[in-house]
Amino acid sequence: MSSDTHHDMTDDARTDGGTATATDGSEAVSDTGPATGRIARSKVVFMRVMQNRFAVFGLMVVLLLLFTAIFADFIAPYEPAEQNYNALKEPPSLDHPFGTDQYGRDVFSRVVYGSRYAVFLGVVIVGIEMLLGVTLGLVAGYYGGLIESTIMRVVDIALSMPALVLALAIAGMLGGGLFPLIVAVSLVGWRGFARLVRGDVKSVMEEEYIDSAEAAGLSDFRTISRYVLPNAASSIIVYATLTIPTVILWSAGLSFLGMGVQPPKPEWGAILAAGRGEIDDAWWIATFPGLAIMVTVIGFNGLGDGLRDALDPRQVR
């Protein structure tokens, strides 16, 4: 093969990535040298996400949520538990954009601080679910045989229990609060990860590059970490992104039912529960945390959808 052919080929193959980077401003590209490999690839994924309006909206919501959670101290005009008996159940105004609740606390500040719970719970619980589910799924899919059957039967048994009852039972047994909430929701969610990852790993295992990794004499750990997991990663990322809103909903739900974060902590579900009784004469107490939950969930879903489309362009929309 002549070297000319190589150039033709790679140049052709590059044009997709090339157009994407060109719109991004060529100065940045020339700074880091020619955009090859990994950089070009992440750019392509990013550009694909940016082409999807819903995903862009989702990304903005997620960024806003993160920003709010990080800078809550600066954004919130009041302390979340600060009570003002001169301003009970005041409707939204300039002083209190979301109004005040029955104890004179600023609902806006409480919702802002509540974003910390949402982010924290979303990240930690999905992290635990992934750790459990991905590990078990990987082991099951990679080794197969008896190991796989055993793990998957455990998953099946876990899946046969109604999720809400399971979560309520666990949270109830542990007595409510932040830690029981995390345990309860994590134990509900890992099952999906295990199933998904095991299926993906099984299909990756059929690929010839896994044979060639084995033929290269790589250890199991190296094969899994370099060949199996990265090839199953895109669906894990998408699933994780789409699981975060579920987890936030579940956490808020359990807190609403009194099994999670306890009032007066400003968790959205807890605020909502506390404002529920006042809905007739102070609709804003329950409405704004509810809206916050809704927007967050929709945002993460949008981002997850966008990522799925971007990471798997072959999928028919």
Binding site: M1, G37, L218, P230, N231
Partner: protein, 372 residues
């Protein structure tokens, strides 16, 4: 071809009577399936000397790849089960090694090239990572040294602009380029034995020729032995010093490459050679072998080719499995598994042995042989 011959002879002189690098002896592999036990390999014996290319030819499903995978210890078990036989590499019995011990050898001293370069590279790792992988896994080298070696290796398999390719993902490369990368990966540890399982089958004809040239060159350069598997006699004849002909899980003949064309002994080999389309004469139909390959679930006893054999000589073919051995009166190390050459028969085979078989110096694909 003559060049190839002379190197073989030179090798033989140089190596004297050393033990072969790889010796597969009476290997029996069964696949336990729901339909029954598939006797995929029924006593396969092959030897590969040092610095020698052994071609293995046969139709689809005759056990070529199973032989290769057994050697690498990569058979999926279950369903596969090695029932008997031995595979010795450089004096070590491979079948006795644990998976960990095998990992020391495979990827280092024995490497493998797969058929389809489109699927044998990991799509999420850069070319550089993948070419470095065997070195990092088997040798005590730094990342920088591995990088340097990888670039050298990519250059020596004829890839220009190797430094840039290192950061490229496989999807940016054409099939031919990828197969070069696969070859670079397989050779970076300077293996003693390369197993090439139909390395050109998935490539188009021009790329195929380039890859064959490359393999021929590299094989000289690296002084390694090659087990070259193909169903394409033309491709094999380009590179192989000796050839093993497989049929339905048996090796039916093993001989020098040239001998295969000049004086094939086994009726199947002879039919193979005859089925090479000739440019002379005007035949309407290409010669084929009547019948089909027997089922390997409950295969016929005796010679597995008996049902299609034009030289069928009676009961002995159906009942006794012919051993693979050098018939009396044949010089060299040509071995054949056929009752035609049984000593007690004392008859000559029905064609002149050792003479030009006539007009067979051409191109043959055993696919065309598959009776239809």
């Amino acid at each position: 071809m003559s060049e190839q011959r002379s190197t073989t002879e030179a090798n033989r002189l140089r190596n004297g009577d050393e033990t072969p690098l790889l010796n597969i002896d009476d290997l029996q592999v069964h696949f336990n399936t729901e339909e029954g036990t598939v006797e995929a390999l029924d006593g396969v014996s092959l030897t590969i000397g040092r610095d020698e290319v052994l071609g293995v030819i046969g139709e689809s499903g005759c056990g070529k790849s199973v032989t290769a995978l057994s050697t690498m210890g990569l058979l999926q078990s279950p369903p596969a089960e090695i029932v008997g036989g031995s595979i010795t590499y450089d004096g070590t019995e491979l079948l006795d090694l644990s998976d960990e011990e095998l990992n020391e050898i495979r990827g280092d001293e024995i490497t493998m090239i797969y058929q389809d370069p489109m699927s044998s590279l990991n799509p999420v790792l850069t070319i550089g990572h993948q070419v470095k992988e065997p070195l990092l896994a088997h040798r005590d080298v730094s990342e920088d040294e591995a990088h340097e070696r990888a670039v050298e290796m990519l250059e020596s398999v004829g890839l220009a602009d190797a430094e840039r390719l290192m950061t490229e993902y496989p999807d940016a490369l054409s099939g031919g380029m990828r197969q070069r990368v696969v070859i670079a990966m397989a050779l970076i540890t300077e293996p003693k034995l390369l197993i090439a399982d139909e390395p050109t089958t998935a490539l188009d004809v021009t790329i195929q020729a380039q890859i064959m040239d490359l393999l021929t060159d590299l094989r000289e350069e690296f002084e390694m032995s090659v087990l070259f598997i193909s169903h394409d006699l033309a491709v094999i004849s380009e590179i192989a010093d000796r050839i093993g002909v497989m049929y339905a899980g048996n090796v039916v003949e093993q001989c020098e490459m040239r001998t295969l064309f000049e004086s094939p002994l086994h009726p199947y080999t002879r039919k193979l050679a005859e089925s090479i389309p000739s440019l002379e004469g005007d035949t309407d139909r290409l010669p084929t072998i009547e019948g089909t390959v027997p089922e390997l679930i409950n295969p016929p006893s005796g010679c597995r080719f008996a049902g299609r054999c034009p030289q069928y000589i009676g009961e002995v073919c159906d009942t006794v499995e012919p051993p693979l051995e050098t018939p009396s009166g044949i010089e060299g190390d040509q071995k054949v598994a056929c009752h035609l050459y049984d000593e007690q028969r004392g008859e000559d085979p029905p064609w002149p042995v050792g003479e030009e078989a006539g007009g067979t110096d051409g191109v043959a694909r055993t696919e065309g042989v598959d009776g239809s």
